[in-house]
């Protein structure tokens, strides 16, 4: 286990704590504080994965969240495994295991690598062009693509970790704790703004904290030393909360941001348990300061993707922060000064820098002089034209660039090296900025997109707004903070800043090679293997919009979201199409900035908290009786009560017979209940129901049908007049909330003149519905002093009574066709009421029945269920319920629509009954209905909406909607099924007791 690549002790790495970890099965050692990437590099491991399409060997390229290649599976085959983790972000801990993704059978021998040699067959849009035809083959293609694509594996067992959510309201949120973010947060907090400072790393200070460039000084101190003192001072500031290892995932409008705090991912396994793993912050901040920094760009040249080719800034960070040398012979390739800083820093630590290859004409700054003084050769106006080394870079070839930068000339110079640092300039990290709805502008001079028009109270400071040099960063920061925070001075007003100045600039988006473009591999998007050739091909094929080119070539569509390659893609498109980059615009940066786990997103809303259930006051009794439950809206309703191992069918047949032969009892507590009061209550009901309400006597009940303004049935239920100006409306179980909302809407916006008050009382009452020929006897036993005679208490009427001292409201209404009493008590007495009914009903074989039996019994009577027999396209006329639509009323919701030409068509689908020729055959709900079997294509007339075997009629019955069905009584129709055709006859939808004799028997 070589650790000779540690260059010197680093204050950010705890060299006293050795950490062992496994990568692809081999045990390595690193130190506490290492990322997986820095620890691997310290062990001279560069090759960490294979590319997506060509399976080319790929190495660690960056030191941050923009990493496209070093994507690993953490702790494979455990319940804590996680795919798509960036090795450059994840911190190692004792016992951690990681493995490469996208390689099989191993990273060193990869079968998919054959794609690399077949690459002429994989141009842009290859997947679209090839696998789309014939469509039926897609499933076969998909199998192979998914197997070779290797996007990591999700865990298969339950997530053992806890996740949390936290709402935060603050005055100022600062995103990014580099030098700009630290000064911004400090000055905000000091001026009484409640401030939150977030950074994705575990250390504050960004890239300045490990800066050792002698010529970058603040108040005559090296910038890192100066910043350390500032950070020290943060500890004593009130109003300031700091969260590290916290990455902002999304920046929405109105300064609403989501951030993920990582709490245990860096801990050893034994320390992870029973702790919150990740916490999602939902942040509302009055003001937001973005100090998200800048990402270094690579450059696009032939074979720019070999292991050992890295960002110049990453090489510097590995050396200065982690104390790791990324190679023993390093070459830099640059278009700006930052590679010189990296070269000097490495040279100071004794790492051999072979040369700096610069595409610019000679530039005479202090920095370059120091590089020459260090004995490092500079090749001006040269470009790397090729590289070699399959699993690790071993050589680069450079040539002289022409004046216009489109070709190379002269002799090819070969430089042996094991690491190439590429410095293609800096791209402001404006991802969050644009997510917020703010707009960018293109800076032609710097060739970058910078913040321009803010969509909320926010500013961008530091390098994320295009300020790259320390003096301009701090000068602009000072001015911006004073303006933004409305303060007269900052605490760094009077500092003196010295740094190197950059003079020369040159930018070439696609560097030329001595070979024709078609023979080269200049990668733009490393993760998706999109090359400059692919982008040019897309343009030749006619794609112009940047969004289309992105999708066609898949540039920027990986987990890195094009953080490295987007600008090159834009530049190449602009150059090729002859347009300005500013006019081209950028692709949309969508949240999340870095991937989020599902656990973080759902937080505590897992298991029984995933979706909240409502339970009735009688629920415990149903559970004790081992009822099966079904979900109705958010309610858990008793579905049926199997005894002695009955099937559902057997239980429902038994319950249905008992309810008609003696007595049944249903828990009807879930029905929506709305208390309606006010001097205009009757008028209000007139307007919302299709029938008339003014003449309903006090103590009487009436069934009502509610329409939408388009004339379609919306809800139904029985409403009782409790007093002169007092009604109790019931709604369907699932429709309760929507009905209340709709009624409130009309009251507040259309009829504010009406004196009506609505109160939801669904949860306040429990309802037991007693039904059957013996229901009256049972009720008599419970309330002996109530006169239950048909004269005193007829069908569709209401009585208030007392069971002991408990007041109850009893409605004699029926959804089954049997005599029924719905007893309502205060919810807390619900179970007590239920048990009293059961006890009193014992001698009459009282049978609890669930929703399934209720559905069957009402179907025997042809009563509709809104939402089952209707689907938002049925008028009352379609349902053959003309009787409930008042002709006299001037208006009600939906009335005018009943007279539209379309709703008056004779051939609309209408509700009918269906009887099967073979009474034992039960139709399938949803089955299609046809009148002619031999027609091609066969004409669908409608479908079955409800279907049961009726034990009381001893035959199969069904309700259906059929085009023109009203005039088809007695007509033979067909129901073609997969294996047979069922013959049916259209019938009256009321199958049982058509004359309603049983209601008063």
């Amino acid at each position: 286990m070589s650790e000779s690549l540690r260059v010197k002790s680093s204050q950010y790495i705890d060299e006293t704590t050795r950490v062992s970890f496994k990568f692809n099965g081999t045990t390595y050692y690193g130190f506490k504080g290492d990322t997986l990437a820095s620890a691997l590099l310290a062990n001279n491991v560069h090759l960490v994965g294979r590319s997506f399409k060509y399976h080319r060997p790929r190495g660690i390229m960056t030191s941050g969240s923009e990493e496209p290649n070093a994507i690993v599976q953490i702790n494979p085959n455990t319940n804590r495994t996680e795919p798509n983790v960036r090795a450059t972000e994840v911190e190692i801990y004792e016992g951690m295991e990681a493995s490469s993704q996208n390689c099989w059978p191993s990273v060193n021998f990869d079968i998919g690598g054959i794609n690399n040699f077949l690459s002429p067959l994989f141009p842009a849009g290859f997947y679209y062009k090839t696998f789309m035809w014939p469509a039926s083959f897609w499933e076969k293609y998909e199998y192979f693509i998914r197997h070779s694509a290797g996007l990591g594996k999700s865990p298969t067992s339950k997530d053992p970790d806890i996740y949390d959510h936290r709402n935060i309201h603050c005055d100022v949120l600062v995103v990014g704790a580099g030098i700009s973010g630290i000064l911004a947060a400090k000055n905000a907090a000091k001026n009484n703004y409640k401030t939150l400072l977030l950074d994705e790393k575990n250390e504050l200070g960004g890239s300045t904290i490990y800066e050792n460039n002698e010529s970058n000084k603040i108040d005559n101190k090296i910038s890192s030393e100066w910043l350390k003192k500032e950070i020290e001072e943060l500890k004593n500031i009130k109003n300031l909360e700091i969260k590290t290892r916290t990455s902002v995932a999304a920046y929405h409008q109105y300064n609403y941001l989501l951030a993920r705090e990582n709490l245990t991912d860096h801990l050893e396994k034994k320390d992870k348990s029973n702790k919150i793993r990740q916490r999602l912050f939902k942040i509302r901040s009055k003001k937001v300061i973005l100090a998200t920094g800048a990402l270094e760009r690579p450059m696009v040249f032939n074979n720019n993707d070999r292991p050992g080719i890295m960002l110049s800034s990453a090489i510097k960070k590995y050396s200065d922060f982690y104390g790791v040398a990324c190679g023993s012979k390093i070459v830099f390739f640059t278009n700006n000064d930052s590679a010189y800083e990296s070269a000097l820093s490495l040279n100071d630590k004794g790492i051999k820098v072979e040369a700096v290859v610069d595409i610019r004409k000679q530039s005479e700054t202090n920095l370059e002089k120091r590089v020459i003084d260090a004995g490092i050769k500079i090749y001006w106006e040269h470009a790397v034209v090729d590289t070699s080394g399959y699993k690790r870079l071993n050589n680069v070839s450079i040539m002289k660039l022409s004046n216009d930068g489109t070709s190379v000339t002269g002799n090819k110079i070969s430089i042996s090296c094991d690491c190439l640092g590429v410095a293609g300039g800096w791209t402001p990290a404006v991802h969050l900025y644009t997510q917020s709805g703010s707009k960018l502008a293109f800076d032609e001079d710097k060739k970058i997109f910078i913040p321009n028009k803010n969509n909320s109270d926010q500013i961008s400071v530091g390098s994320c707004c295009g300020d790259f040099k320390l003096d301009e960063i701090l000068k602009n920061l000072n001015e911006k903070l004073k303006d933004f925070l409305e303060i007269t001075k900052t605490d760094f007003e009077n500092i003196t800043v010295n740094n190197d100045q950059e003079i020369s600039k040159r930018n070439i988006w696609l560097l030329p090679s001595d070979k024709a473009l078609g023979k080269t591999k200049p990668f733009v998007d490393y993760q998706n293997d999109a090359t400059a050739k692919d982008i040019k091909l897309a343009l030749r094929e006619g794609f112009r919009s940047i969004e289309h080119v992105k999708r066609y070539t898949t540039t920027g569509m990986g987990t890195d979201q094009g953080k490295l390659g987007n600008m090159h893609a834009l530049g190449i498109i602009a150059d090729t199409a002859g347009v300005k980059m500013g006019e081209l615009g950028t692709t949309t940066f969508r949240p999340p900035y870095t991937p989020l786990t599902f656990g973080t997103i759902v937080g505590r809303n897992v298991g029984k908290f995933f979706d909240i259930f409502r339970r009735t006051p009688m629920n415990d009794w149903h559970v004790e009786q081992k009822a099966e439950f079904e979900n109705v809206g958010q309610w858990k309703r008793a579905w049926y009560y199997p005894i002695n191992g009955e099937t559902m069918h057997q239980a429902v047949q038994r319950e249905s017979k008992a309810a008609r032969e003696s007595s049944g009892i249903l828990d009807a507590s879930t029905l929506g209940k709305i208390d309606i009061q006010g001097s205009d209550a009757s008028e209000f009901l007139n307007r919302v129901y299709t029938n008339a309400w003014s003449k309903l006597g006090i103590g009487k009940c009436r069934y009502g049908l509610m329409l939408n303004e388009d004339g379609m049935v919306y809800d139904d239920g029985v409403t009782t007049r409790l007093g002169e100006n007092h009604y109790l409306m019931t709604t369907t179980t699932g429709g309760a909330a929507n009905v209340l909302g709709k009624l409130e809407d009309y009251l507040q916006t259309e009829w504010p003149e009406l004196d009506v008050y609505l109160t939801s009382v669904t949860d306040q009452f429990a309802t037991a519905s007693l039904c059957g020929p013996n229901s009256k006897k049972i009720l008599k036993k419970i309330i002996p002093d109530l006169d239950l005679s048909d004269e005193n208490f007829p069908h569709m009427s209401f009585k208030e009574a007392k069971i002991g001292s408990v007041v109850c409201r009893i409605m004699r209404i029926s959804f089954t066709g049997e005599q029924s009493f719905e007893i309502n008590v205060q919810a807390s007495y619900g179970k007590d009421l239920w048990e009293k009914c059961i006890e009193a009903g014992k001698e009459f074989n009282i049978t609890p029945y669930g929703t399934e039996t209720m559905h069957l019994l009402r179907a025997e009577k042809g009563f509709i269920i809104v939402g089952q027999d209707t689907d938002g396209t049925m008028t009352p006329i379609d349902l053959q319920m003309d009787w409930i639509v008042s002709k006299k009323k001037y208006d009600f919701i939906g009335k005018r629509s009943l007279y539209r030409s379309d709703t008056m068509r004779e051939d609309r689908k209408q509700l009918v009954g269906l009887l099967t020729d073979d009474p034992k055959v039960v139709l399938e709900e949803g089955a299609q209905i046809v009148s002619e079997l031999n027609k091609n294509p066969v004409e669908m007339l409608g479908h079955v909406t409800s279907s049961y075997f009726s034990p009381n009629l001893n035959k199969s019955i069904a309700l259906a909607v059929v085009r023109g069905g009203k005039d088809m009584m007695g007509k033979k129709l067909f129901i073609p099924m997969e294996d047979k055709t069922i013959n049916v006859t259209v019938s009256n939808p009321v199958f049982f007791d058509e004359t309603n004799e049983r209601l008063n028997a």
Binding site: Q253, E750, D891, R896, Y899, R900, S901
Partner: protein, 91 residues
């Protein structure tokens, strides 16, 4: 997600509210007098503007009051909020 200044409760998170479509479409007082086309105009036709739009909103998980909002749909800037029955501000 917006912060909406409910005229009855003050500033609340958007998730407490429900959008209710275009504002200032009055339900006809005498629907029976209308032709099919006129009724259809009321029933179905709604604007979907990129720019300033007058909308109805309901504080569904709060005071349950309906109110009006003027919103720029292109950037979700809320230009004005006013109670039902109040005159729309000209923007």
């Amino acid at each position: 997600m917006f912060v909406i200044n409910c005229p009855y409760c003050g500033e609340r998170d958007q998730q407490e509210f429900k959008a209710g479509g275009e504002a200032h479409i009055e339900r006809p007082k005498q629907p029976t007098e209308l032709s099919d086309d006129e009724w259809a105009e009321y029933l179905f036709m709604r604007k979907n503007i990129k720019g300033v739009q007058y909308e109805r909103w309901n504080h569904a998980h709060g005071c349950r009051k309906w109110f009006n909002m003027v919103r720029d749909t292109s950037n979700d800037e809320i230009k004005a909020i006013y109670k039902m029955g109040e005159k729309p501000p000209s923007i």
